[in-house]
Symmetry: C2
Subunit: 150 residues, 2 copies
Amino acid sequence: MFETKEMFSKACEYGIRAMLHIARTSKEGTRVGIREIAKAIDSPEPFMAKILQDLSRKGLVLSIKGPNGGFYMDEIHLKISLAEIVTAIDGDQLFNGCGLGLKACNERKPCPIHYEFKAIRTNLKAMLQATALEDFKESLEKGLFHLKRG
Amino acid sequence: MFETKEMFSKACEYGIRAMLHIARTSKEGTRVGIREIAKAIDSPEPFMAKILQDLSRKGLVLSIKGPNGGFYMDEIHLKISLAEIVTAIDGDQLFNGCGLGLKACNERKPCPIHYEFKAIRTNLKAMLQATALEDFKESLEKGLFHLKRG
DNA sequence: ATAAATAAAGACAAAAAAGTCTTTTATTTT
DNA sequence: AAAATAAAAGACTTTTTTGTCTTTATTTAT
């Protein structure tokens, strides 16, 4: 009937993968264009453009227009955590919201799964906060991981 | 731009809340109708009907038509875990899927966050599997938790 | 038997997410 | 300056999810 709900939105999945790709290719003066990014991570090009433009507006990635333009990062951007990317694209409901969607859910007026869920969320957030783009740079360069769909 | 992605779908949130309400009101020979359920958990009535009919078809809850009809549970249903409800409505991607949406992601060909993510998923699944409807019955009857939106 | 109550089923509508296309703007190269 | 390249912006389309409405089937009470 419904089926297949994932942790992150498609936009967020593409966003994380694109950021990892840019981190991998980002060296001194190297920029990578949307076409190449989309090809590298196997995502729909115009949708990818929208997501990256959003991330660029929010300062998570740098870009310049024109020939030899494209997206790139400096040392500071490599320290961006997965949590920051997720928050920028999907918001913070995954980390802070009530599992049952109850607005008024809090310590004083908890939903049934409040305490169990809080632990999971905290855990998830901690993991994503502790994981920065640069942590993957080397292993991505060595080809130990893949970023393609299929 | 996008914002506010939650862990479960709306259908799943309503489904869990409705199941908790039925568990709470379900005593010998007591049935509860869709109208009352929707009111109790503050969900859209016709949408609630669709979700419950789906759960009923899948055997997670019992129902009978006609006067004094409605939804109810027996002892066995009270042992249903939150994981079973989530899987029935949202599927198992949350527990088994790749965080970055990569179909080919596995131990041999892992995505960058594969290992970190696996731990979270396992944790989440374990928590939801370990939590059954009957675990909330008493505290719900005592009014210690709430199931309303606002 | 008939009427009333209720879930089941399925068509329909609205909103949100995902994806595409076109035009504009900025930059570089010639 | 002009042409080419690439991101930015925004309108548009499609698909999925959420939500609504109407009709049908089943059960109970009268």
